[in-house]
Amino acid sequence: METVPLEVAPSRAPLKDFGAALRRQPLMAIGLGIIVVLVLIAIFAPLIAPHPSDAGNVTHPTETLLSPGGGHLLGTDQLGRDVLTRVLYGARTSLLIVVVVLAISAAIGVPLGIVAGATGGWVDDVIMRITDIFLAFPALLLALALATVLSPSAEHAALAIAVTWWPWYARLARGSALAIAQRGYVEAARALGVPKWKVLARHVLPNALPPTIVQLSLDAAGIMLTAAALSFLGLGAQDPTPEWGLMVNQGQGLLETNWWVAIVPGVAIIVAAVGFNLLGDGLRTLLDPKAGRRR
């Protein structure tokens, strides 16, 4: 009832909000922690890696396949390179691919989807049929074909994945925009004289973003795995670039005798994937402005 003063949360500082959200969601804090550590590793790899030169084009014929321990905490691979060093450097390659793919596919997909959903009509039809064409191909297959054509490398793998990835964001953003365009505040914005593009940018986009951002962070894991799969198949990063999928590939024949060559990068992939997933789930709750009330 109106006559009773409504109990509402006082306006809060965004940073304080974030701290409180982390406390409410310990799993998200763990995910965030993993990703932060991963980013720090990627940045400071040259400083923390025990044998930085092993990330490059070197071989140590006398130190091949050493067991974990001693001078090589996680052993060496068949070329005598320190596995720990290469896994730490591998964070660079993997994160870079993830960031590049996410940036490209979101930058293409989200605007297209929002315009399609909020405009409707033939614009919607044209944009969605184009995305349908891209979605008609199995993603990994299309990426494989592209990576083959472009000559295998980490950059081309990222490009190939982005081409197969953006249609999903276009669809997601279109669905959100479609629902949001019907909301009262979009009509109200127009009734207040807000130009069409501003309605899209300020009223439709921000409200369509939460599901997109959640999807981005959830997809980060999938992209990393796809990149690893491409490398594993020999179409992604090439030796000597340290990349986790490539390292698993190189170690697979040695699983029975020298497990660490494949298992250590494999564990790195799993930990990073879990980190992105936990973060994504937490973000979903955090970015919903009404989430605080529901809990």
Binding site: V8, S11, R183, Y185, E187, A189, A191, L192, R202, P289
Partner: protein, 257 residues
Amino acid sequence: MIAVRDLEVAFGDRVVARVPSLELAGGEIVGLAGESGSGKSQTALAVLGLSRSLGARVSGSITLDGEELLDASEARWRELRGRRIAMVMQSPRGSLNPTLRLGRFFLRTLALHGIEGADAEARMRAALADVSLTDDLLGRYPHQVSGGQAQRFAIALAVALRADVLLCDEPTSALDVTVQAQVVALLKRLREEHGTAMLFISHDLAVIGDLADRVVVMRDGAVVEAGATSEVLHTPGDAYTRALLDAVPVIGQRRIA
């Protein structure tokens, strides 16, 4: 101030609103009554120039102070919307962007119409005081305010923009009775103090009877009756108006079905 002539709004072959004549002078409140789907809201949207973007065909004439608006450019319409002709929507909180704090929303809307800086700040505070809202509301998100507060906020926006014409589309329907009374009182005061003209759309004839100088009754997209409020409500000439009137509950009267 606003004059509507032979207005016709149609989707495809279906005419959803046909208004032969509707005039609104400064300080005048005209009630627009009728059931859902009778064309009340379509009429209001046409007066705001929003029908065409929804895919409707509009013909006839809408003038504001003599200026023909039906063929006006989208840029001209944008200048008028909010600034000259403001709208208060049915769902008060649904009309506010959930990602924007109210204060930010308010200032952005003013900035859109060229009112910025200290002037905007001053106008905002004055308008809020006008509708008896406190400043602490400005830091809140729409879901953190009540429906009545949101509706008064929407009216404050129109006050700050100094809109001459206020289109109220069922502004009290989503509110409970005590809050309804507050909003109606606020609209009356707005008319007294600022001379704002209002088109008050409602299916609630009791509220219209309390507020409006003249009433237009619509059904199935057509105007079935129009005239001074007291005449239409006390000696309804149309069977439909009588049916609407019969639907108004009277306190103390026991209804036996």
